[in-house]
Symmetry: C2
Subunit: 203 residues, 2 copies
DNA sequence: CCTACCGATCGGTAGG
DNA sequence: CCTACCGATCGGTAGG
C-alpha cells in the first residue's frame, strides 16, 4: 500500500465522517501515521486531497457502469437496468466514497472542481443517452425524458446515505428494486411484465 | 424583523454557501450587523444556530405538505400528488433552506439532532402512509412499496441542489413533472391517462 | 434584577 | 521525513 493510498484512505474516512471543513490536515496525517509535513509532500493543499478522493470515486463509478453496459443486452431497457445496477452496487460497496461524492463536492473550487464536474457529466450523459435511445425505440414512454436523468441519478446517489449492509435486502436485491423503480418512472413498456426480485422490503 | 430572525437569515445564507464548519460565528454576526457577543446572547452555540435553521425548515416543509393535503382529493393518487407538489414547491421557493437541510444535518449531534430526526420521520411517515393507502386500494401497483418512500423523498430533496429559478420550467411545471415521475414509479393505475403538464423540459 | 449589547480577550487550532 | 514555526482565525467568554 503506497503512502498516497494510505493518506487517501485515512482522508476518506475522516472527511466522510466530519466533512471537509471538519477534517484537518493534522487529523489525516495522524490517522495515516505520518507527519503533517509529509502529507504536504504528497498533496499541495487540503482541497487537492478532496479532489483526488472525488476523482477516484467517480472513476470507479464510471468504470463499473461501463463494465456492466459491456455485458448488457442491446435494448435501452436492458442498458438502463445495467447502469442502475452498477450505480446502486457502487453506492453500497463503496458507501463511504459515495457519501463523500454526494456531500463534499460543494467545497471544491477552481480547476479541481471543473475536473470533477466533467467526470460527473460523463456519468450523467450515459444515463441521458440510454433514456434518449429508449424514447426513440418506444421502450420508454415518459412524456418528460429530459428531467428523468436527474431524478434517476438523485435516487441512485442517495442510496449510500441510508443503506446499511445488515439491512433486510442484499445489495443485489436492492439493485433489482431500484431497476424496477427507474424503469417504472420512465414508463417502460416492459415494466409490468417484470418479475419482482424479492417480496421482502425494508420498513 | 426580530434580531433572532436576522441572525437566522444570515446564518442560513452563509451555511448554505460554505457549510456548517466553513461558517464562523463571527461571519454570522458580521452578516447580521451585530456583535459576536450579542449573537451568543441568542444562541448558546453554533450548533444551536444550525438546529434552529433545520427545525424551521422542516416545520415549513411539514406545514406546506399538510396544507396541500387538506385541500387534496381523497384518493391516494391525489394525496401523493399533493404531497409531492408541496415538497417540490418548497424545494424551489425555499431553495437555500432546502439545500441546508439536505447537506448540513450530518453535523448535528445530541438532542438537537434527535429533534430534527423526529421532524424528518414525521415528513417521511406522511409519504409512507399515502403509499400504504394506495397499495391497499389498488391505486399503486408497485411490488416494492416499502422502499418507495426513500426513493420519492430522495428525488424531492435533491431538487434544490440543481434547480434554478430562471430554468425553462416554472416551479409549478416542475412540480407536475415530479408528480408524474413519482406516480409512475409507484406504478399508479391512472398514470398513463394523465396529461403532460408541459412539452418543454430542461436539457 | 433583567435584557440587550459592547470592546476586548481567553486557550487552542487552522492551513500552510 | 521531521521540528519548529508563521499570520489569522476559531468557538466561546470575560467584566461592565
Amino acid at each position: 500500500m503506497s503512502a498516497r493510498t494510505r493518506y487517501l484512505a485515512a482522508a476518506l474516512d475522516l472527511m466522510a465522517a466530519d466533512g471537509f471543513n471538519g477534517t484537518s490536515m493534522r487529523d489525516i496525517a495522524r490517522a495515516a501515521e505520518t507527519s503533517l509535513s509529509n502529507l504536504y509532500n504528497h498533496f499541495a493543499s487540503k482541497s487537492d486531497v478532496l479532489v483526488a478522493l472525488l476523482r477516484d470515486a467517480n472513476d470507479d463509478l464510471l468504470r463499473r457502469i461501463r463494465a456492466e453496459l459491456d455485458t448488457a443486452g442491446p435494448s435501452a431497457t436492458e442498458r438502463m437496468a445495467a447502469a442502475v445496477r452498477a450505480y446502486v452496487t457502487f453506492s453500497g460497496e463503496c458507501q463511504t466514497a459515495a457519501v463523500l461524492s454526494l456531500s463534499e463536492f460543494r467545497y471544491l473550487r477552481g480547476e479541481g472542481r471543473e475536473a470533477v464536474v466533467q467526470a460527473r457529466d460523463t456519468t450523467e450523459s450515459i444515463f441521458r443517452g440510454v433514456i434518449a435511445d429508449g424514447v426513440g425505440t418506444g421502450e420508454f414512454r415518459t412524456p418528460y425524458p429530459d428531467g428523468a436523468t436527474r431524478a434517476i441519478v438523485s435516487i441512485c446517489a442517495a442510496v449510500p446515505t441510508w443503506y446499511r449492509p445488515d439491512g433486510p435486502l442484499s445489495l443485489s436485491e436492492l439493485a433489482d428494486v431500484h431497476v424496477r423503480y427507474v424503469l417504472a418512472m420512465l414508463e417502460a413498456a416492459t415494466v409490468t411484465a417484470q418479475q419482482p426480485a424479492s417480496t421482502a422490503m425494508p420498513a
